[in-house]
Every structure is written in C-alpha cells, then in structure tokens.
Symmetry: C2
Subunit: 130 residues, 2 copies
DNA sequence: CATCTATTTGCGCAATTAGGCAAATAATGA
DNA sequence: TCATTATTTGCCTAATTGCGCAAATAGATG
C-alpha cells in the first residue's frame, strides 16, 4: 500500500487502493433496499426471514444485501438456532445517512424555493439546468 | 410521500423516493475517480483541464464525473473565459468521507489484528501503520 | 439417518455504468 | 467571419449489478 500520508484529512493523499476501498464502502450504501435494511435494523437485530417480510424483498436478495453490508463491516452476523440474526455493527453508518439526508433536505428546500432568496450571499449559486 | 415510521432520525420513515434519493447520493460517491476529483477540489476550485491532469483521467470522463457530482449538488460550476471552474459546493461531503475513512481504518486495524495472529486477545488496539 | 426450516449461492437475464473516441457546443481572439 | 481552445455530449463496448429462480448448505428435531 502506497500511503502518501498527507495528514490534512483522512481523505487527503489516499492511495488508489484506499480510494477504491472508500468507493466500495459508499457503494454498499448506494442501494435503496440496503438502506431500507439498515433502517429496519435500527430498531434492533433481525433474522433474514424477518427482514424479508419487513423490507418486502425476496429472501435470496435480502441475504445477498446483508452479505454486501457485512463485507463492509456495517452489520454483524450471528447464528442462533436455524436462523441468522443480523444487527448493526457500526452505528456511525447512521451518522452518514443523517448527513446525507440533511444535504438532500437542503437540496429540496432550494429546489422548492428557487425564486426566494434565503441564501445569505447574493451570489448566483448552481442553479443551472440546460 | 408515505411516512411509515416515527421520525427518530432523518433516515427513519423514509419513503421509497427519498430512499432512492439517498441511494443516488451515495452512488455519486461510490467511484474512485469521483472521490479523487472531490479530493483534488479540496485545495480549491479547478477547471476541467486542470482536473484532467491532476486526476489522470480523460477530459470527457472528468466532465462526466463533474456532471454527476453537480447533479447531487456536491460541486458548483462557474464559467470563466473559455474554462469552467468547479468547486466544492457542500463541505459536508468531507465529513462523510472522513467518517468513512475512520470506519475503514478501524476495519483495517481489526483485519490486521486478526490476520496477524488470531491467538491474541482482540482488545489491544496498537496497530496503525498505514 | 431423514427431514424440515432457514439461509446461502450458482446461473442467467436485464439494466446500468464507466471509459474511449469523435463530433458538437461555447467562448475568445485574430 | 474563421480559427483556436475548452468543455460537453452521443455512440459504442466491456464490465458490473440487482433480481428471480432453483439448487445447495447449515442447523435443529424426529
């Protein structure tokens, strides 16, 4: 691994591999059904069958999505009896999602009130659609 | 929009559309080259040609990636002369990336400890040489 | 062991996507 | 005007991805 070690921020000076790793992490979150699963797991652990019902998704796909999330260390796996229970392994995921939701909410606000001026600066900011 | 759950957090009770929107947001971050572009923009605004050189990517692709980032409101666009300058429009992106990097660093630590010798107790955390 | 249930995985298909190449567009200057 | 530079976009290909279906595994119970 070629670490450039520019310690301005964790993102600064990342190697190709590290960048790919971060991208994979985001990729795991870039699916509505996986987000739904994570959201469902917020209330506590659930097995695959429960998630299948709660998320309205086939068992096979829930299993696959859980595998993808587990690969990124987002959820933990625990076999109990004939079932496999999954739970959130990294609560900071929700911090990520909350940040994104805030950003998107902000976008919606801006979109909703294009002609209103609630931005403090009077600059013309990125409202450009061809 | 159908809110199905109590709103303990922004992620809770998200409609299908909102969930898809969040997923799209993460999707925009789920590419190494786009992360590299964002990382490069951290030092300040750059035009497409500069980013092409700094990121080692073709002009067309840089342009496309920038369009994807702009679509999510992550970067802003400003034409000056014959060039188009892009800059970070939402600094909270870096908070996202930093969170992810911390999570991944943690993963690396755990992987490293496990890989090194699984006979040791995993409560010692002294493994950090990126 | 046989069997049932729960979960995982292999395979194929349809849809999406990143990248290369070239043509099209925009802005500047002779 | 035409030429030049900078950026965007259309088209194509290769690779990836999510899903449905069915077969395969793992664990518990008779």
């Amino acid at each position: 691994m070629v670490a450039t070690k520019n310690s301005a921020s964790p993102l600064a000076g990342l190697s190709e591999q590290a960048l790919a790793h971060v991208a994979e992490y985001f990729q795991a979150l870039a699916d509505p059904m996986r987000l739904r699963i994570l959201n469902t797991l917020r209330s506590g652990e659930h097995n695959v069958g429960e998630l299948t019902e709660l998320c309205g998704c086939s068992t096979a796909n829930v299993s696959r999505h859980l595998a993808a999330l587990a690969k990124q260390g987002m959820v933990g796996r625990e076999s109990r009896g004939t079932s496999v229970y999954y739970s959130i392994a990294d609560a900071s995921i929700y911090a990520l999602c909350d940040l994104v939701c805030c950003n998107i909410a902000r976008q919606f606000e801006q979109q909703a009130s294009v002609h209103k001026s609630f931005t403090k600066a009077t600059q013309k900011r990125g409202r450009n659609h061809p």
